[in-house]
Structures are given as structure tokens and as C-alpha cells.
């Protein structure tokens, strides 16, 4: 192998240097974002506390934040908050993963097989806009009044955004990388795993990111309708006992859980899609 000529005048910047610059500026940007977000949340908290302290709202309708936080602290000390959070998280994530495990392969298969597309496309078109919670009585009849029907309810509601995004992503992949792989000797099956899925991954992950909050909402609503433990169930119980501090404690817990779960998925997206231009603003 001869080496390239010495007369080469192209300017070369080491990629590491470029990368270093970019990450540090992106880091600063992200820190700035986080700062603004924290400030907004802090402002709302102060507003909440002030409004209630000044007796502008009846404390039964909106208890002071400090009382809510105090209740939260007691629940943390007694451990009940962890039981609720864990139960809700378990139901939401189980449903979400079951949905992903079915919807991603189905979306891929639909993009490959016309027969499957003809069969499932109308079903999905009809099912997607339907209020999924309306199926809850059916699941209760078919399964139980405990976790199974809750998790199936969540999976059912997560299924549609994931299958739709996967199908759209895998059926519209750029032909050029596919042709490259074929030209380098990849077989059809290998092209699916090695080219189509990575190319479609941004869209599949977007589908997951849409499904996850849907799953969280469905979990809490289902818990509220069916009672028992979990954040939704505990809130409904608090409501029945006219315990407004308890209700608002539930709201704070939901906000916290939602924030953590959604940010985690965003983080995973950034990790998986380092190659994508979106990952370096």
C-alpha cells in the first residue's frame, strides 16, 4: 500500500478536537436549559406557596405546598410512597415493554409483508384513535381485577404509537445504505438487522417516546378506576376521604415519576443515536 502523496494540502483537524469542542458547548447549552427549567419550577412552587399563604384560595381546594411536601416526607419516612411509586412504575413499564416487544416486530413485519399489512393496517387505523380506556371493562371481564388487566390495559394503549412509528420508519428507509450493504455482500436477512433497523431506529425511538407518557397516563387512570395501591389508587382513596393534601401529594408524585421516566428515555435516545446529527445541536 502506497501512502498518500506528500503534496497533500487538505486541512486536517483531528476529529477528537472537533468532538471535544462540540461536547463542551453542548454541555453548556444543556446546563443553561436545565437552569431555566429549574427556575420555572421554582417560580411555580413559590407562587403556589404564596397564593395559599395569603389565603387567596381556600386551603381545602389548594393546600399549601409546604403541607404537601411535609406529607410527602412523612410518607417517605413510613415507606408508603415507595410502594406506590414502585407499583405504578412496575405497571407502566411492564405494559410499555410488552407493547414494544409486540409492536416493534409487528411493525417491521408489516413493512416487509403485504399480506400482514393488508390485515393489520385497517385494524390499527380503527384502533389508534379509539379511547383505549373504554376497553378496560372488557379486560376486567377477561382477566382479573388486579395487575394483569391493568398491565394489559397499559400495553394496549402503548401498542398503537409504537407499531405505527416502527412501520413508518422501516417502510421508508433510504435505499442507498441498503444498496451499499447489498453491494458489499450482505444478504436480505442481514440487511434487515444491520441496515433497516439502525436506519429506522430514530423513528422507532420516537414511537417509544410517544408511547411512554401514554402508558403513564393509562396506568394512573386505570389505578384510579380500579382502586387498590399505586399512585392513582391512593389518590382516589384520599379524594374519598376528602384528604386534599393527600390528593395533591399524589399529583407531586406523578409529576416526579413522569419527569424521571421521560428524561431517562431521552437520555437513552441520545446514547443510542450519537451518530445522528440531532445529537449535536
Amino acid at each position: 500500500m502506497t501512502s498518500a502523496g506528500d503534496g497533500n494540502t487538505t486541512v486536517k483537524l483531528p476529529a477528537e478536537a472537533l468532538q471535544g469542542q462540540r461536547t463542551s458547548s453542548a454541555y453548556r447549552l444543556a446546563l443553561g436549559d436545565a437552569g431555566v427549567q429549574a427556575a420555572v419550577i421554582l417560580f411555580l412552587c413559590v407562587l403556589w406557596e404564596t397564593v395559599t399563604r395569603l389565603d387567596l384560595v381556600h386551603p381545602f381546594l389548594l393546600p399549601p405546598l409546604s403541607q404537601v411536601l411535609q406529607r410527602l416526607w412523612e410518607d417517605i419516612l413510613s415507606g408508603t410512597v415507595f410502594v406506590d411509586l414502585a407499583l405504578t412504575l412496575y405497571r407502566a413499564l411492564s405494559g410499555f415493554f410488552i407493547a414494544a416487544a409486540i409492536a416493534i416486530p409487528l411493525g417491521v413485519l408489516m413493512s416487509r409483508s403485504a399480506a400482514l399489512r393488508w390485515f393489520f393496517d385497517p385494524l390499527i387505523s380503527v384502533g389508534f384513535p379509539m379511547p383505549k380506556i373504554a376497553f378496560l371493562p372488557i379486560f376486567i371481564l377477561w382477566f382479573d381485577i388486579f395487575d394483569t388487566s391493568k398491565i394489559i390495559m397499559v400495553a394496549f394503549s402503548c401498542f398503537f404509537p409504537i407499531v405505527t412509528a416502527t412501520f413508518a420508519g422501516t417502510s421508508a428507509v433510504d435505499k442507498w445504505p441498503v444498496w451499499s450493504a447489498r453491494s458489499l455482500g450482505a444478504k436480505d436477512r442481514e440487511v434487515l438487522w444491520e441496515v433497516v433497523l439502525p436506519l429506522a431506529s430514530p423513528q422507532i425511538i420516537t414511537g417509544l417516546q410517544i408511547a411512554l407518557p401514554v402508558g403513564m397516563i393509562t396506568t394512573v387512570v386505570t389505578e384510579m378506576l380500579m382502586g387498590g395501591r399505586g399512585i392513582g389508587g391512593t389518590m382516589i382513596t384520599a379524594g374519598r376521604f376528602a384528604d386534599s393534601v393527600g390528593v395533591f401529594t399524589g399529583i407531586v408524585e406523578i409529576a416526579f415519576l413522569g419527569f424521571v421516566v421521560i428524561r431517562s428515555l431521552e437520555y437513552i435516545r441520545g446514547r443510542l443515536l450519537v451518530w445522528h446529527p440531532e445529537s449535536r445541536r
Binding site: 500500500m1 502506497t2 501512502s3 498518500a4 502523496g5 503534496g7 497533500n8 494540502t9 487538505t10 486536517k12 483537524l13 483531528p14 476529529a15 477528537e16 472537533l18 468532538q19 442507498w176 445504505p177 444498496w179 451499499s180 450493504a181 447489498r182 453491494s183 458489499l184 455482500g185 450482505a186 444491520e194 441496515v195 439502525p198 436506519l199 431506529s201 450519537v274 451518530w275 445522528h276 446529527p277 449535536r280
Partner: protein, 275 residues
Amino acid sequence: MTMAAIQDRSHADSGTGIVIDGVSHSYGSRHGSGVLALDNINLDIRENEFHALLGPSGCGKSTLLYLIGGFIPIQQGTIATRKGKVTAPGPERSIVFQNFALFPWKTVLQNIVYGLKKQGIGAAEAESRAREFINLVQLKGFENAYPSQLSGGMQQRAAIARTLAVDPEILLMDEPFGALDAQTRRVMQEELRAIWQRSRKTVVFVTHDVHEAVFLADRISIMSARPGRIQHVIDVNLPQDRGEEILERPEFLELSERIWRLVREQAISASRGEH
């Protein structure tokens, strides 16, 4: 060209040439009302030949390469290599696409290693070979960069390295140096010529640059404006060893001038045809 001659070639088992026989291609409609891109192409590319394709934009050069590569189905006529009729892509006919077509989720190094692994080469060996080709195309320092972090010319060089690394018998190149600056372009041309002389493969090289075609090729086909036909096939009678000095030789300049006039004719008739 007689049928008998074509038959002979396609059955010769030592040849890695390409026999293109009566190939036409139209886009858009299957019922014949679409755009006719190629019209009855007959071309016999010899084994180990460096063959350049020149022609006005839109005359079907890329289409012809895609047909040889087996990426789009042949509608009419046949294309045959030593392995028989072309029906699908294969690693013995590797291509550098006009738009690079790198894998965006793989780094430069991973892009090149991918092709080598597909040839059954082990990971360590594949990586060291990939690094050699990265050096060859002057991308040292960018092994771990993703395509979206590279300039157009750098992506093009990565694509060239990926295809050269798998060492195909037939190398199809679609304006592979189109995005490069004049300096880099010259270096890459000399490298390609040297690689071809060393490894003796059959190259089909599409370009717009007459000097590039004359510098690199043994024979040059000039295509007509759409629908593409082979208008002239011209032998380049220049020494096998070609360095920079050849660019000043009278034979080189004369031949370039002649070919340039033929290409211009086609381009002019193309612009007339469009009004």
C-alpha cells in the same frame, strides 16, 4: 458486434469483463410511457480494462451502473460477467455511489470494516486493513467520526475506501471524485490508477471530467443525451505508467481536445432537445 462474439465472451471463464447486450431502461411506468433513460446499449467491457463513461448530465450513466451492479432489475437485454447473467447485487461487483451512501450510524472505520467482515475477514485483520485504506484516502484522524461530521469530499473518500477495501473484481465508480478539490482529486486519481495497475481489476468509471477520463482510462465511451446511447468508444493510447508528466504531453492534450469536442456535441444536442 455480433451475437457470436458476445456469446464467446460471456462463456470465457478467465474473463472478468462485462458484456452489455441490448440493454434499454425506462423509469416511471411499466407500460412504456415512462422516461426512456437508456436505449439499446451494447458495450463490451474487457477484463481488467479501465473503462470511462462520459456523457451529459441525465443521460443515464448512473442508471447503467445500477444495472451492472444489479440494483435495479434489467427490463430489456442482458448484462453478463464471468459469474453469469447479472440478476442481483454481489460483492464481486462493488460500487462507489455518486451520493456516497455511507452507513450514517457507523463511524468511518466501522463503515469500512463492515464490508470486510462481509467478505469473511476476521475482526483484527479487517480493522488493520480498514486503517490502511483510511490512510490511503487521507482520512487519518477521522476513523471515529460519523459521516454526518464529515464534509462532502471526506464522505466521498470514506466511500471510496470502503469499496476499494473489499477488492472487488469489478469496480463500479459513479463520479467518485466529484466532491473533491483539485489537489485531492489529483492525488486520488494517481492512487486509483496505481491500485488498478497493481490489482488489475475491471473498472467502470463515470465522470464529467474529460481530462480525468483520459488520464485514467484505457477506453472511453461517450454517451448521447437522453435517451442514453453509446455514441463513440475511443481507445486511449497512452503509456500504462501515467504520472503527472503525462498531462503535458501533446498526445494527451490532443486526445482530450478531441473527446471534449465529441462530448460537447452531445451536450449541445441535449440542450437543443430540451427546448
